[in-house]
Symmetry: D2
Subunit: 365 residues, 4 copies
């Protein structure tokens, strides 16, 4: 199979670097186009990230040779598309919200599908927030989006915030089995890589916790409602439940967001062992279709009383699985548990790639 040529917007930033690294040997996609800020434009990718490459694995040699384009100049991507070097783009733009929104729309208007990691379009009513295991059918809004906006081949899809990845799939699995959640209280302990680079100053986080992350609690409370929503009249109508209260903390962990969740079901309340079984056998479309980036088992439950732990569990199954432990009754609500997911893989670039695989499967790419 000939690989689909893809582009990365914001390729020199931390999420962009993760895209480069994770797409290294991807069976369907091949990075051929990279764009970043004007400062990097014109340099080879290797030069542009020299001294700024954050990942343990080095970037693939061929990626280092690609000349970085100016991400603000959509004509460069159009030219690349014509040359067969950019069928769609992953957006890891790190500019302001309004600029990001406008720029992603400009790419889509130019006929280039945008699979975005940025938060700019998460609340645009006709842009789906996709998690492949949960709402793959929200891609159905794409034709509507294209029609209303008079876009030809281009469109925009986004992925949700990294803080909710660890418990959204488990909640969905329970809802699907007949046990929707009514309300939940969650406290997150989030890794420093979530703040990008340079991000969190070391003086703020060694021997310390920062009990606040700007905008994070709002995202954590609202985005699940859109993901659990339904398409009506050409837009995504939010679900009404669950009501979520989130408290987000930054902790001295490199990668991996941990969440302590207490929740109350609606009328039907499953037993603890039933929940474990539901999670153990849950498979989503990515698993059924064996997408390359999909974890074999989206929810891994660990029976040890002191797991999951970020350093020891974050990398399970390509760092794409959610790892859960400590499921037990809650004194106040019905149950509580601790959940973990890798914020820069499942919660960022890996999740974006899984969305691209979904769109390819659905015929949109």
């Amino acid at each position: 199979m000939t690989k689909i040529p893809v582009g990365i917007l914001g390729a020199t930033g931390m999420v962009g670097q993760n895209y480069i690294a994770l797409l290294k040997n991807h069976p369907w996609f091949d990075v051929r186009f990279v764009a970043a800020s004007p400062r990097s434009a014109g340099k080879k990718y290797a030069e542009a990230v020299a001294g700024r490459w954050q990942l343990v694995n080095p970037f693939p040699p061929h990626a280092g040779e690609i000349i970085v384009e100016d991400a603000n100049d959509v004509s460069r991507a159009i030219a690349a598309q014509r040359k067969g070097e950019c069928a769609f783009v992953f957006s890891a733009l790190e500019m302001g919200k309004d600029e990001t929104r406008a720029l992603e729309e400009a790419y889509a208007a130019a006929g280039i599908p945008v699979i975005s990691n940025a938060s700019a379009h998460r609340w645009t009513a006709d842009v789906p927030v996709l998690i492949g295991e949960i709402n793959p059918d929200h891609t159905d809004i794409i034709p509507e989006q294209q029609k209303v906006r008079r876009w030809n081949k281009g469109f925009i899809v986004v992925k949700p915030n990294c803080s909710i990845q660890s418990y959204m799939i488990p909640l969905h699995a329970l809802a699907q089995a007949g046990y929707p959640v009514k309300q939940l209280i969650v406290t997150t302990m989030q890794a420093i890589s979530g703040a990008g680079y340079p991000g969190v100053p070391s003086l703020d986080i060694i021997d310390n916790i920062v009990p606040y992350i700007g905008g994070e609690e709002e995202k954590t409370e609202m985005e699940p409602l859109k993901i659990f929503g339904t398409i009506t009249d050409g837009i995504i109508q939010n679900a009404e439940l669950p009501v979520i209260s989130a408290c987000c903390n930054r902790v001295p962990v490199i990668d991996g967001h941990t969440a302590c969740v207490s929740l109350e079901f609606g009328e039907k309340k499953p037993a603890i062992e039933a929940i474990k079984k539901i999670w153990a056998k849950f498979k989503g479309l990515p698993q059924e279709q064996k997408f390359p980036m999909a974890p074999k088992q989206p929810i891994i439950y660990r029976e040890e009383e002191n797991r999951p732990q970020p350093r020891k569990d974050r990398d399970l199954d390509k760092a794409m699985s959610v790892v859960i432990g400590r499921l037990r009754p809650c004194n106040v609500f019905d149950i509580r548990f601790t959940a973990l997911s890798h914020n820069t893989v499942r919660g960022a670039a890996g999740g974006g790639i899984l969305n691209a695989e979904l769109l390819k499967h659905k015929g949109y790419l």
Copy 2:
């Protein structure tokens, strides 16, 4: 004023070391008797803790000269009492629960009051769990305790677990102002010093979180009910509320336990600003009586959106204040906030000393 001579059981362990350090210049109490395991007995205190002293401040020179006694041998304390060198003891014993319980009772039976940091007697119905700002009148059970057990001068009081200190005083201040709490969900992020020394292996906690601390959640959920309880028929009857659900995590922080609390009041629900005022003006008996170890302000509220932080706030007011921030409405319950207290000072030795000051004030010492 002549200082009261005091003894420390378990003086070489981490809590014992804190007692030694915090009593250094105490205006009322003077450490004259130290006891520990048979391994240390017979050595000078300085030798017994050589290479094991964990605190930044060195121990006072005169303490280093005291000969360590065997804590299992109550006759040593009786002899010291006769010589006017041990009016009462702080217990920082680190043995098994049953042994601790029996040994503390033996000291009390021998006429030596025991002010304990250990958890052994927290669920003994006639032993009060004291927090000076909350339930100073629970000392009223001491005469009952002595009568039933036929103890003469001796008695036992304990302090609660370190994980609940940060939000118990704020809850009490609200209840006292007419706003009792019905239920709460709390996630704690607890410092490694809470596990003693050697305690948590570094391989378990650098770049990591351990989402479990043995026995901690049960203590966190149950002890508040006894502290909020009432004395009836010679025992302490637990309060029925609040219902508490706790999730306790170990994090890479040296000192200072942080708690994220979401709670629901009963019928009456105070406004956010009213709560801040209640906390700002709250004073307990230790403040009114100006006990030496009492913080001037037991509850410090920080308006900055990213506080409290353990490294930056744990040492406020002799590390005896509770520091709170991020008070805001909760989507699920009524309010939520983040609270911090220093686990080895307010949560251990400092809390024990405050209890001794209370007992001295009440005439029990």
Copy 3:
């Protein structure tokens, strides 16, 4: 090719776990026999390490099923050897020096070759301390060892301490190119995993450095002389140079020992650029013979001024390469540089496996 069945002594400890993990898909060797302390004996390996498995990657399922034997009982290994399940053993014993020495000799006497990670036999004159890239011919002493000790098929080889791995191969490459080193001063900054589990208490190492590791400086100063030595009269005669002065520190790093080296050559002093070329083209026998565990490039030089860094460079080339940077003239000696190697892979289990590959190649296994 049928794989050679191998055993692991001390299989449940941290080094033993690394052997299990690293041999997972080894093309030549297959773990069939595991032994540990009597406490673990009789359990399945999975049970024996439950809650103690330290590695990020889980152990291979088939390893979890093997029944752990008592490592003190050599007859178990003999029986396994007869059944074709244990051609030789890797020793990761964690007992006292004398017991280790005696037990390894008992295995060798019973006809079972011992490839040891322990330090017990490093100063036994007829036991070679092997680094495949430096002194592969020290295996020539094995027939002498067997003859003198009247061992039939059994023998003992060891690997050196983890603290010297990062600069020994670079020094050897220079000596081989005609530039032997006369003296060197080295300061190491060593990872906590080097102390095993539970190892370094977190209270000793968060926001801290421990400027001492028991016995480490002596090993660092003496072992290189044996590795650079020559076989004469049936024993290994130490080299006289280089004279080494070492200062070993424990730092808050999970894996990867870093060394700052200043050194003086003998008469001949190479230029900085010449040294880089020597290192870049250096290959040892493991590279020439393409041993499975051998890194393609044993010495990787990084030109960035702020490398090597343990977290970012320790895993290069299966964590078996030495990574060097900051080569520059020294004001006092000739040159100085910073070197890094992964202490639990190249410095422990990975180094042991490379030694086994060497012995297989030489026909001793």
Copy 4:
């Protein structure tokens, strides 16, 4: 005694904050004037540092009320001097080298003595680099400096880099006792607070070491020669010895620079025990004159084999003592030892205050 009113340039930065905190209850000096960047000018100090205050101890309330002036506008300090609110300034400027040099000269030219923490003037031949215990007589160059530059009351003195503080006093004590050092090799492990705020990104230093600090090794190698120099012909002539080779690393420690030193004496070589005695009894002018900021014992030697440790020893004696341990013979040179000093106190603001005390004592303030 009426306190001398002092000003602080760069008062909102990290070193400036330390000056504010350390001068809180100073018996001689009273902070009355604070200046910073134009961004802060016009605000109360409390507002200017809101959310940026890095220290555990809060700033003194009266300091919070002072209106911040623009440090670039010397006329503000002149006005303050006339009003009796600024007799001299501590410079903690954080601008470029050339700007700092020029601005400090402008203050001195305007009649305001400058006691600087900045590196800008460390290589100006008529500006002394002062360590009170070592070269208090280098203040003798001040009249020359004033004469040549036609300054009236103003002058400039500086303090050295924080990386050399831990071993310079010990070296000086030995030289004074007749044992000058010929050459030394030092590896430093430096705290993150040395890089200011935001300074080192947490992604660079958790579970990691950065083996490079820009410009630090040159300062570490050269500044001691000026401090050990002599005044000749109106300038400070550098000493020729010791020759120093430094390797400077950033490590995950909050405060406290640790140095591993190997050194060779000249002809005369003291015994290990003699060195300990020399260090134990060493006193400098600050000790003889009992300056308020002077540590009682400038060199503290710890006999424990695993000390000094930054977290446990950095705060000894107001964080102004140098703490040494592990003195032992060196295989290559004569001796080696490990030394520690607190980089933001002795190595920055505390050292600057000690210099001001020296200048007051000498009659220059």
